[in-house]
């Protein structure tokens, strides 16, 4: 029980620092690498919760594909590695106030609602059960998401093509 909490604390601290790095760093490539820390930390938290399948999908899809897409986007837009002017706009302080306000409200509500609710883990969730759920109960959303991905793929090709 203590080991779990210690592991959670370490991973959560790394994720929080990575998230702050994403929104604070002055180098666009570093932001992508900080995002890797956050997403890998998320996958580690999923494993801590015994939800193995979604953790590995997160590693494959996010770290394997989405980050690579981001790096390609950074290269193709020739993002400045050492920008002379700031990467932030003039809204930094209003944005900080909004975010702090939101985090205050959310944490207050969460502490009020779930103050001491504990997660009782009964071993890892089997991948076979997840896939059974997806291919029986949730087969229609699954197919719709497949069509959506196809639409997004064709749309991205049409948008980015040189004509």
């Amino acid at each position: 029980m203590i080991a779990e909490n210690v592991a959670f604390g370490i991973i959560a601290a790394a994720m929080a620092l990575g998230a702050l790095g994403v929104v604070r760093t002055k180098n666009v490539v570093h932001a992508a690498l900080y995002l890797v820390v956050v997403l890998a930390g998320g996958a580690a938290q999923f494993i801590l919760l015994g939800q193995e399948f979604v953790a590995w999908v997160q590693v494959l899809v996010y770290i394997g594909a989405v980050i690579v897409l981001f790096l390609f986007g950074i290269m193709l837009t020739r993002a400045p590695m050492h920008p002379k002017d700031s990467l932030d706009n003039d809204l930094r302080w209003p944005a900080a106030v909004t975010a702090l306000f939101l985090v205050g409200i959310l944490v207050g509500l969460l502490v009020h609602t779930f103050h001491a609710d504990k997660i009782h883990l009964n071993g890892p969730v089997r991948t076979a059960d997840i896939t059974n759920d997806i291919f029986t109960t949730y087969i229609i959303p699954f197919e719709v998401v497949g069509v959506l991905l196809l639409g997004a793929l064709i749309g991205a090709v049409v948008l980015a093509r040189k004509d």
């Binding site: 986007g73 193709l76 837009t77 975010a99 502490v111 504990k118 759920d133």
Partner: protein, 99 residues
């Protein structure tokens, strides 16, 4: 483990993403901040799934992952188009329709 640990971590990630979306100027960085928000939402789904001993949380997290991948694909194509037309990926320069 307390459920709140995960929920507060997710709330923090979400709010950091909100800050990034509002304060960042480069379009790719705004998309990265949106990914931060989605990562926070995913942690919520999985934590509640584990809390209720229900697999639906994991299934929904997978759907969120898929939508996020589609969103990044389309988003980066749009950013590329903006860069090609304006020779800059700064969202402050996209003000053609400003009155």
């Amino acid at each position: 483990m307390l459920l709140n640990e995960f929920l507060i971590l997710a709330a923090f990630l979400f709010c950091t993403g909100v800050y990034g979306v509002l304060a960042r100027k480069h379009a790719v960085l705004v998309l990265m901040s949106v990914e931060l928000m989605l990562a926070g939402v995913n942690i919520n789904f999985v934590a509640f799934g584990a809390f209720h001993n229900d697999r639906i949380g994991q299934v929904f997290a997978l759907f969120v992952l898929t939508i996020a991948a589609a969103e990044v694909g389309i988003g980066l194509a749009i950013v590329l188009l903006i860069y090609r037309n304006l020779h800059s990926a700064d969202l402050d320069d996209v003000d053609t329709m400003k009155g």
